[in-house]
Symmetry: none
Subunit: 228 residues, 4 copies
Amino acid sequence: MPPPSEPVEETERLLTRAGGELKTERRKRGADVARAAIVHAAATAFAQRGYYGTTIDDIARESGYSPAAIYKYFTNKEALFSHLWNVMAEQLQKLFEESTRMPVPFSQRLRWLLSKLGEILQSSPDLLIAFIGQRPYVARSHPTELERQSFRQYKRHLMQLKALMEQGIHERVLGSGPAEDYANLFVGLLYEFAYKWVTAPASADLQHHEDRVLNLFLHGAGPLRGGK
Amino acid sequence: MPPPSEPVEETERLLTRAGGELKTERRKRGADVARAAIVHAAATAFAQRGYYGTTIDDIARESGYSPAAIYKYFTNKEALFSHLWNVMAEQLQKLFEESTRMPVPFSQRLRWLLSKLGEILQSSPDLLIAFIGQRPYVARSHPTELERQSFRQYKRHLMQLKALMEQGIHERVLGSGPAEDYANLFVGLLYEFAYKWVTAPASADLQHHEDRVLNLFLHGAGPLRGGK
Amino acid sequence: MPPPSEPVEETERLLTRAGGELKTERRKRGADVARAAIVHAAATAFAQRGYYGTTIDDIARESGYSPAAIYKYFTNKEALFSHLWNVMAEQLQKLFEESTRMPVPFSQRLRWLLSKLGEILQSSPDLLIAFIGQRPYVARSHPTELERQSFRQYKRHLMQLKALMEQGIHERVLGSGPAEDYANLFVGLLYEFAYKWVTAPASADLQHHEDRVLNLFLHGAGPLRGGK
Amino acid sequence: MPPPSEPVEETERLLTRAGGELKTERRKRGADVARAAIVHAAATAFAQRGYYGTTIDDIARESGYSPAAIYKYFTNKEALFSHLWNVMAEQLQKLFEESTRMPVPFSQRLRWLLSKLGEILQSSPDLLIAFIGQRPYVARSHPTELERQSFRQYKRHLMQLKALMEQGIHERVLGSGPAEDYANLFVGLLYEFAYKWVTAPASADLQHHEDRVLNLFLHGAGPLRGGK
DNA sequence: CATGAATGAGGGTTCATTCAT
DNA sequence: GATGAATGAACCCTCATTCAT
């Protein structure tokens, strides 16, 4: 009776607007389609109206299924949100990890990471917003299980980024300052520009956004220094 | 019947943990005391459990008044939250404005601004979190009035900061890059470090935090360059 | 916020059809009246359609209040039922206790006990049925908290009756057989005749019923023997 | 479309833990096996968690079949329960009838009846509890069809027992009191001791239980009298 | 014969809000 | 000025039941 917690990758693939050809495999079909529709509807709804502002009925309506159907695939509202959140969290986690392992100079890895993040922003802005929107709850005094989980994941991400930054420090591409600060700077920029882009997507092309973030990250707001 | 929307400054004064001597002036007393108690209770509750997680009953209980009393002072839950939000928004707005007008070099103004923000973080962390926590809703497709208002205010803050940054650019303390980017960088850092400090306040003294933020803002993560 | 668990006696008094003059004391009124109405409606409903067959809406409708009002007085459906159940359980418990302490011969005490039980049956048949109807759940493998509680109380009643029977044995009014058996016999008869009376109340006057129960209890179905 | 209401005896045979050899007769097999599995699972489930506490999904899971399959054999949940109930009711009915026809002295017939009841208690305690648990609903003001049926059957049992008791009276093994009272006494003892045995089965061997019931039935709780 | 998939019809519960006192 | 009492409107979730395959 516990709804089968399908591998997160599946959902991820189905959600991605880019590679969503939905191969017509001879799978159980029905169930998969329904699950994907629900997950998709949920991502949109949660992103637009937040966790509390979204009702199960909303998701049901938007997905084309009945509220009861949703409970066949997820134990409850929180589990559904949690699933979505994990999809994004794992995607990011993987990205961060990968970026620390690429056998190329640090600055290339940074670029690569940023461009990958840009792709996510483009392919699943809904999910990304739903994800980031969860962060504020991190500071709660009486966190729900969901909030506790978010907090843990948030710190895990920071750790990963810190590791990356340490490599940058080692390669002398970054300064000597505490790697953690750099990680925070990175995250701060990411969130800020993600919002900027989402609230006004037409403002410019994504590539340009990435360049600006990279530049701000490396040199801050101060004047170009040195010989120049 | 719409409860008189008392000047925000009053609340602000009452909330600040520092200078809250509550002089026994010749005033209607009762009403003021009640209002202050309610506002204070609301700030704590909203910060700890969020807008949706906080019930009017919660606030009533914590304030020592009845739910009905709250409606004597605020038209509804949203108005109460909105008021709190505005208190913080105006406080920040004033700070930003002031910082563009100080007749001292840019870097001093920046320092001053940061230290002022630090004071706020220390005196009303609850409020500040409640304030920042509101930001994610900014991107909603179907925003409530509160969200629309938040969005406007958020942009106003950015404008103000952009003006400040333009001064910095003019004084050659900052680079030539678009002032808006610098404003975003500043905000990103602010939020990130505010969270950091709130979720682990003991981590270090605030002064130190400010230094790091300033440093990251001015120089980014890149290495200190050349001749210096 | 936890609804005030008013002393059970109060409810008991209000429910009793006999002495229910509802003195117009200058009490908080409202709340008391409402609570009594809800409790009364609940007793009727539960007795007629059982715990599961009764909805909060039923009780609300019959009590003349809204469903939400019920939750002001009882934390939830189970708590409401549990309260009713306790009212009866304590009433019985007190009766049983008292009957073991009366300074009169055993057979008089027994008579007195039966007549008291008869009074209850007449004044609150609803409650009594709701109470007895709970017993079957006693044997559940996976009991709810309510069921566990019922079971404990049931055994407590048996213990009390056993104590009474031991006195009867000691006074030679009863045989030597295990007191526990006598307690079970007594309970069995009680339940059986309570049902009989409730399902066909007009069948005879209560006094007559009591006599028969007493007779069956003392002599069973066998023939009157010997010399007598 | 109404599923063929197979003769109750079949189920009875399949349920009885004792003689369940399930001969591989030339029969539709499949269907029979499925039906038996469902009925068996239902008996267990209903007995453990009651009618309302048991879901069709529960029964399906425990039977190894799907919920839909259940509807192939029974029109609905109530019909399934009703069937189980009838199995027990008819078994008892037959027992009672038979006991009035045995060409042996009354006391032997009584003994025989009790031992037969003991066998049932041992072989299908689940069913017996599910059966007895139904009784309280007998008194409902707005009975469901199931409850009406239970009530009728209950009275039929009493009638049967009353007939038996009349024989006892005639044979002078019982007193002269109304036969109906004796029937009620018998039922009361039966239920009470059935519960006792089920809630604490290890307490003693069944034979002993039967003796006690018989003794209580014949002589009540009073002292052994007269010259005897 | 069997089931996977889906749903309609509630049921319990919460909560912002009102209003007579 | 303050509140006790009450409620309408949802919301989350469950479950018996159906039906195409």
